[in-house]
């Protein structure tokens, strides 16, 4: 039996069928590619969204760490001098200020400089030269002021977290000083608080 030779027409038909199959396969692959591209695009957008959320969360954690460190240091300070050091560290390291003063309010309404960074008695009472004045509250009275005179050169103004730190200082600084004063008084009296 001799092999039948495929005619040109038959060969053409067979090749056209093959081309049709390849075309169908190509269309299928194109659809699949399109689908994968869409999924990749959605995944990329999702990843970007997650990265943005992570960055925002880490930013917030950083802010909360500042606030927690500030409150912790104020109330850990045992003696009044330690509280003053804590206030200076908060203002210098967490806010970024290189000239500041901590003032107590006298009965006549004037201010007495207790401590500071880069200031001396000449600055006492010159609250109007401050860029920020944080009132120190105790029992609904303003008993002193923390005045910021100069920020670090790389600091571009007051930020949201700084305002939160001002609120912490306003609420907690005078209370911490008051409690430390009580502890110092008790220690002088030989009493343990």
């Amino acid at each position: 039996m001799g092999m039948r030779v495929e005619s040109a027409e038959e060969r053409l038909v067979r090749l056209e069928e093959q081309v049709e199959l390849w075309r169908a396969e190509h269309d299928h692959q194109s659809e699949r590619e399109q689908e994968l591209r869409h999924r990749l695009s959605a995944q990329t957008a999702d990843n970007r969204h997650c990265a943005e959320q992570l960055a925002a969360a880490e930013q917030r954690i950083g802010h909360l760490a500042k606030l927690q460190a500030a409150v912790h240091q104020l109330h850990e300070a045992a003696m009044p001098v330690d509280v003053l050091t804590a206030i200076k560290e908060i203002v210098a390291n967490l806010i970024g200020c290189e000239e500041m003063g901590i003032y107590a309010r006298r009965p006549d309404g004037g201010l007495t400089l207790l401590d500071g960074i880069g200031v001396d008695d000449e600055h006492a009472g010159t609250e109007e030269t401050a860029i920020v004045s944080v009132p120190m509250h105790l029992n609904n009275r303003v008993v002193g002021v923390i005045a910021l005179f100069k920020l670090l050169p790389q600091k571009n103004g007051i930020e949201a977290v700084d305002r939160e730190l001002f609120a912490v200082l306003s609420t907690h600084a005078a209370r911490a000083l008051h409690h430390a004063g009580l502890r110092a008084w008790a220690r002088n009296q030989g009493v343990s608080l």
Partner: protein, 123 residues
């Protein structure tokens, strides 16, 4: 979570507390020193993976401590990030001349700190 250890060297307890909260929260282990000499001793004994070094400290400044660490065989490869109060080019030049790998300005931003630490230690 990472097992990488970071030595924090700063004489400000407030700064140490804040840095520790941020980095411990990201899974790093912490060692702390409150002056430059203590930082040298701890770095030599404990071989941390990274040092966050304040510039102005008692006994030895951050510059002096970093220079010393770079000369010691045991500590010369430990990466150092300098924490600077001043961001002038002259100060940054001294930082890099001392052998620090990177720097961060005060007031330290938590997210920036984490990004710099991760760029050195990996995620």
């Amino acid at each position: 979570m990472s097992n990488k250890r970071i030595l924090l060297a700063d004489d400000s307890v407030t700064a140490l507390t804040m840095h520790r909260m941020i980095l411990a929260g990201a899974g790093y282990e912490m060692l702390t020193a409150q002056d430059g000499q203590e930082a040298i001793e701890l770095a030599t004994a404990e071989q941390p993976d990274l040092i966050l070094m304040d510039v102005v400290m008692p006994r030895k400044t951050g510059f002096e401590a970093t220079r010393f660490l770079r000369k010691q065989e045991a500590t010369k490869s430990i990466p150092v990030i300098m924490v600077t109060t001043r961001a002038e080019p002259k100060i940054l030049e001294i930082c890099f001349q001392c052998g620090c790998n990177d720097y961060i300005n005060k007031p330290v931003d938590g997210a920036v700190l984490l990004a710099k630490v991760r760029s050195i230690l990996g995620n």
